[in-house]
């Protein structure tokens, strides 16, 4: 018998002696740190998506005029086109929906905002100082940068208050749009970039509000009579805000999907108000053509999540193709052109990120192995990549076609935002 033969049966005991577990002296420090941190609601662990839409169809006018007029008109059109192109190149504004060119990726590290160029690999600090800024969110045309600012409550048991700010894409000229809010966990830019819709807690209820982005006025509550989460503008014009509502019914609190004008009024039901208050109609995400809403349903008994696609025109409601993942599939996000859906398949030890054709005509394809922890992801403006933030475990830029991945240079703890540029 060798010495190790004698030791091996006692390995657990010896390792425990070696480790000598005892209450570490930093226990109170770590509890003070967590006490000052905002806990993410379950549905916001993915934070928010940018619901992208297709570019509105434009009619084409074919002139029927004599040749001389044609030539004159053509010359004029060239001049106009050149002028428009010059103006466009100056504004670098992207269409609000559909495919666009990839711009900068803005993310937060330790309360400062950084801008990363995927083209050059360079990262620059664009907003720094004593303020605690995080979760940037570009407007759909890429000309404005929204972000959150933690106002107080960084330690102790004070409630954490957060304001929504808007700045230029380079971080200059920040403007406080809302003042301090409680739990502004979801927000969305209007297609024109003139309004932000958001939820924040007033009393004990997440409440739908809108605020102009030029700083001309404060937030305005859109009274729905419900607890509102996941507000997002309906493509292509943002004439309505789609949201998940939990209302009090004769059967108790029930959830459903609704739409309301940004000007207010009576909410319109998109589904029945028949869902479980916590587990149904989660993560609603409107398709770019505004014909479908994708959402998740969690069955706590079967411990299975299902990703469903509701046709707003016909009312048909179908599950997306399954992957065989242990806890099902959820947290779907449309690509900018609406052709693909990215989602997670949940396993006991983490998740895999998948993509599938939005029409369900092919089997889902895994883009990652099993990845532990939480995640937030969205497609790049050109639809060719997915940015996958693994919350402290590295942020990947994954090529959708090949699965190859690059990594952002910094460790990012909050969702990043990818600027859309004119194609």
């Amino acid at each position: 018998m060798t010495r190790f033969d004698r030791v091996e049966p006692r390995l657990a005991e010896l390792i425990t002696e070696l480790a000598a577990p005892s209450l570490p002296d930093y226990t109170d420090d770590v509890l003070a740190r967590t006490a000052g941190l905002r806990q993410s609601p379950r549905w916001t662990l993915l934070e928010r998506w940018l619901p992208m839409g297709v570019l509105a169809q434009r009619s084409v006018y074919i002139p029927r005029v004599p040749w001389r007029a044609v030539i004159v008109t053509a010359l004029l059109l060239v001049v106009v086109a050149a002028t428009l192109a010059w103006i466009g190149s100056q504004r670098r504004a992207a269409p609000p929906f559909g495919l666009a060119r990839n711009g900068l990726i803005v993310y937060a590290v330790d309360g400062d905002l950084h801008a990363y160029s995927p083209e050059t690999g360079a990262s620059n600090l664009i907003l720094t100082g004593a303020t605690d800024d995080f979760t940037g969110y570009f407007s759909r045309d890429g000309t404005k940068l929204g972000f959150l600012r933690r106002d107080r409550g960084a330690s102790g048991s004070d409630p954490e208050l957060i304001s929504i700010q808007v700045a230029n894409p380079d971080g200059t000229n920040p403007v406080d749009l809302t003042g301090p809010l409680v739990a502004p966990d979801w927000w969305d830019w209007s297609p024109a970039g003139d309004v932000i819709a958001f939820q924040s807690t007033i009393g004990d209820r997440p409440t739908l509000q809108v605020v102009p982005t030029d700083g001309s006025d404060g937030p305005r509550v859109l009274e729905t009579g419900m607890a509102v989460t996941f507000p997002s503008f309906l493509p292509p014009n943002g004439e309505e805000i789609v949201f998940r509502g939990v209302a009090t019914t004769s059967d108790g609190p029930r959830s459903g999907l609704f739409a309301i004008s940004p000007d207010g009024g009576q909410p319109r039901s998109l589904t029945g108000t028949d869902g479980h208050p916590d587990n149904s109609y989660q993560y609603p995400n409107v398709s770019p053509d505004s014909r479908h809403v994708m959402y998740g349903v969690w069955d706590p008994v079967a411990k299975m999540e299902t990703l469903r696609l509701l046709d707003l025109g016909t009312g048909t409601d179908e599950a997306l193709p399954r992957t065989g993942a242990q806890y099902g599939e959820g947290s779907g996000a449309f690509s900018p052109d609406g052709s693909l859906v990215a989602f997670r398949g949940y396993e006991d030890s983490g998740y895999r990120l998948y993509v599938v054709l939005a029409d369900g005509s092919a089997e889902p394809r895994a883009l990652t192995g099993i990845t532990p922890g939480e995640a937030w992801y969205e497609f790049s403006p050109d639809g060719k990549k997915i940015i996958l933030n693994r919350f402290g475990n590295g942020t990947l830029l994954i090529d959708v076609a090949s699965g190859a991945a690059d990594m952002l240079p910094d460790t990012v703890e909050e969702p990043a935002t990818w600027q859309r540029l004119a194609p």
Binding site: V7, E17, L18, Y26, L37, G373, F391
Partner: protein
């Protein structure tokens, strides 16, 4: 209040419940991190990071009964993350060379423990993590695989190879002379 109820309450934002959970688990987390990282300061960072992540993402925990396994997974990945990204020099904690007079089984136990310390130190962190999670945290191999995010076969293979490497360390140290000394027969 049982752990499931504490996890449920903590997942709904009750920080007092989270504090109870932390106080019940932090000693083992700290010890496991020290074993894996071999550096008390890095271990402290890993435990803090894993508990911050735990607090922030607790509402997303699907099964409260899996809290311990989930927390262990966060810890192990914080350890690996620190090793990969912080690029700090890992200070190997090594006990003094064994120079202990024979006082029966006590010196034998100390010698075994010290030899084990050296054997663990010579393992790659990923292999060491398998040993620590299996023997110190007491998880069966399928759970070890889940915590480390690797297939069960890989966990088995890593454990087998780790034990083989540790055996080599013990055997190399146990030259006839020192082996006899440590058994006290010539002391």
């Amino acid at each position: 209040m049982d752990q499931r109820e504490l996890v449920d309450r903590a997942a709904r934002g009750d920080h007092d419940a989270f504090a109870v959970l932390v106080r019940g688990s932090i000693a083992r987390l700290d010890a496991a991190a020290r074993l894996i990282l071999r550096d008390p300061e890095l271990a402290r960072d890993a435990v803090q990071e894993s508990l911050v992540r735990a607090w922030k993402s607790l509402p997303g925990l699907r099964d409260p009964l899996r809290f311990d396994a989930w927390l262990h997974r966060l810890l192990v990945h914080s350890c690996f993350d620190l090793l990969r990204h912080r690029r700090r020099r890992v200070v190997e904690v090594e006990l003094d060379p064994i120079d202990v007079p024979y006082i029966g089984d006590v010196s034998l136990a100390i010698a075994d423990r010290d030899e084990l310390d050296r054997a663990l130190q010579r393992l790659d962190p990923e292999w060491r993590a398998v040993v620590v999670v299996h023997y110190f945290l007491g998880l069966p191999l399928p759970e070890v695989a889940a915590v480390l995010g690797i297939p069960v076969g890989t966990a088995k293979s890593r454990l087998h190879r780790s034990l083989a490497a540790m055996r080599l360390t013990f055997d190399a140290e146990a030259t006839p002379e020192t082996a006899e000394l440590r058994r006290g027969q010539l002391a």
